[in-house]
């Protein structure tokens, strides 16, 4: 068990904040339009797929925590180096850093796309990208305390949106959910798999774990956070399924935003315009956490300082957002990324747990001899 992370209490966070970190890392751009993707596989049983995907996150989080517990106070990067040796471990670390960067990029690019489609068709990609990157950098340079604070506020300040989902319910018909379980298990599972892009984010746990003060409570709070996410997705899925008819849901790209279109107040109509802008606050923790995770990895692999890394990273991402322009490109990135993320997040942690456990057994046997 080498290179564990030693931190002073000042840099650490309380474990109950993990509820917010996990939830805010999961909810981001995916929530705008996941209904359609899942619906195309599982039809009116899409909500079961959501439930299954939520269940899977709990299972994977359990594996992740088990792996981390073996090492006490270390993150995924350290575990890789220990389990697979410096060279192969660092190779995996680089892959993980790349994964975080692509996740960051995908969140950013999708949000830009939403902004450009809904409100500012003429606003340059470079501007939205640069301004969001600047906000992210500003938060990132404040350190983990600020990043977690952003996660916290992004949830607390966005909670008021949830009750608004009651308004579309006046057009809801329960018949749309029937008959239950018409789709076969295969397509429901496929639907659950297509949730991957939407539901990932909780892997941040593997990086943030050493920064948690009371590690014995981690399990409880991580699962609470995941439960909250699953509940939110389930509610939105149920509302969308009953609100839209099958053909319309199939064609609506950002079903959640269109859902908001009906919400109006005496002082404001067309709530989706506000929602699209307000979503910046919701994707901000996504961006910050992925950036932070990537920077942690980079600092462990090549000993680069956070500030230097963040500027290089931002410039690369900025150029990336300029290159990827059309909807088809974005969609194909989303699909490929979703597929890769599925293996990195939902398959790999189980393998890692097994390897880590074997290694632990092996080394403890060696010590006994």
């Amino acid at each position: 068990m080498k290179n564990p992370i030693q931190l002073s209490a000042k840099d650490m966070i309380n474990s109950y904040l993990l509820i917010f970190v996990i939830h805010s890392a999961q909810v981001g751009v995916g929530i705008h339009g996941f209904q359609r993707i899942v619906y195309q596989e599982a039809k009116q049983d899409a909500w079961i797929s959501v439930l299954l995907a939520g269940l899977a996150t709990h299972l994977i989080a359990f594996c992740m925590i088990k792996t981390l517990e073996i090492y006490g106070s270390n993150d995924l990067y350290g575990i890789h180096q220990d389990v697979f040796g410096i060279w192969f471990g660092n190779f995996l670390n680089v892959i993980y850093i790349l994964y975080c960067s692509v996740a960051f990029f995908s969140v950013l690019r999708n949000y830009i796309e939403v902004i450009q489609t809904w409100i500012f068709p003429g606003l340059g990609t470079w501007f939205i990208s640069a301004s969001l990157l600047l906000v992210t950098i500003y938060a990132f340079t404040g350190g983990l305390r600020v990043i977690v604070g952003v996660s916290f506020f992004s949830i607390v300040l966005a909670l008021w949106i949830l009750p608004l989902l009651l308004i579309p319910l006046k057009f809801a018909s329960v018949d749309s959910l029937l008959p239950i379980l018409e789709a076969n298990i295969g397509s429901i599972l496929k639907g659950a798999k297509s949730m991957a892009f939407t539901i990932i984010g909780f892997e941040i746990l593997q990086i943030i774990y050493p920064f948690v003060k009371d590690k014995e409570n981690v399990k409880k709070h991580v699962h609470l956070g995941l439960l909250f996410t699953t509940a939110v997705y389930l509610i939105i899925m149920l509302v969308s399924l009953t609100y839209y008819s099958e053909g319309k849901l199939d064609k609506t790209i950002w079903a959640t935003l269109t859902l908001f279109s009906f919400i109006s107040f005496p002082f404001m109509e067309r709530f989706e315009f506000v929602a699209v802008c307000f979503w910046m606050l919701i994707i901000l923790p996504n961006l910050c956490l992925y950036l932070w995770a990537a920077s942690r990895g980079a600092s462990r692999v090549i000993k680069i300082s956070g500030t230097k890394f963040v500027w290089i990273f931002s410039i690369l991402i900025f150029i990336g957002t300029l290159i990827v322009q059309s909807r088809t490109q974005i969609n194909s990135i989303n699909t490929h990324f979703g597929n890769i993320a599925f293996y990195i997040i939902f398959v790999y942690p189980i393998i890692l747990l097994l390897v880590a456990m074997l290694k632990k057994k092996y080394s403890s046997q060696k010590e006994q001899k």
Binding site: F127, L134, P179, T252
Partner: protein, 374 residues
Amino acid sequence: MKKVTFYIIPLFLLSILVGCAETDILDRVGLTTLVGYDVGTEERMSTTVVVREVNPEFQSNVEVITTENETSKGNRMKANRKLSKKITIGQMRVVLFGEELAKDDLHSYLDSLLENPSVSNSLYLAVVEGETSVLLEHEYKNIDDIGQHIYRLMEQNIKYEHMISSTLHEIAHDFYMVGKDSAIPIIKKEGELVELTGVAIFNDGKMVSSLSLEDSFYVKLLRDNFKSGIFETILKEEDIPPNLIKGTSNEMPVAFDAIKSKRELKLVDATTPEFDFQLKLKARLLEIYPDVESGDPKVIERLEDAMVKNLTREISRVIAHCQNVQSDIFGFGEKYRSSVRNSNLSKEKLHDMYKDMKVNIKVEFEILRDGVFE
């Protein structure tokens, strides 16, 4: 850390100077409040827009412009050339379709409306008896802003449950649903007024028939639940129980309000298919000619029976009419789809089945109270 702030601030100021979004300043755009589509005489479609402009004399003036083109965007560009201000559609409240166009196909129009993010999902749709341009271009004596007026007209009638609701969301909901067809209100120019005259019923994207204004109550009864509706009917001779009143007249107009209705649809036999339709109504007796002894519970009971008969007959008639023209505006197909596993319903299959569908109607009618004077 503080160094970063120093980088960020100049970068930010720089981007303020360089990047700027395209503006749509409220008083410098023409707000389209209403759009009407017709079949064009020379090109594919003819569009009539009602645009509200603000001019510096603190007055708004309303322009009605008709253009013809292949696409609706092309029409917008053409209309722009005739106006001093840029046309925007974010405040569009009503979309009208000419009868001829509705009989052709509405699919592509709905698609293009849904595709545009500035178009609200809560705007109202209506079919115009005749041509929209005729309706809109007429200079009404008492109506300043025809767009606003039609919007208010529809909003008011839908809110007080005189007419079926026809927001874009609901219409699109039914259009894209396999087991249901759409119904859209019909409006018509009536002298110096605009009037709702009935309901257009659709088979898929095509308008196939229309129902009268009186029948629109039954349509609403079958589609939605009433919270507080109003209803007037004429009890025919065969409905009136002989001992209700010393029969001199053979017709008996009655009116009810504060109607609460609850409907329940059940599939009893999937092969025919056969449905049980149960309807529970509660209402307040408002008017009746000739007057009856409304304090007498027996009389009320008889009146309720008469109403049940009347409603059953009328509802059957409306359903039969819709079956005739193969338009399932009541969502029987949706019920079928949700009750039968792996039904693989399609619009064609639905319409085939729909012709031979059987509906057993059960109505319960309860008169809760009458007015303050017996």
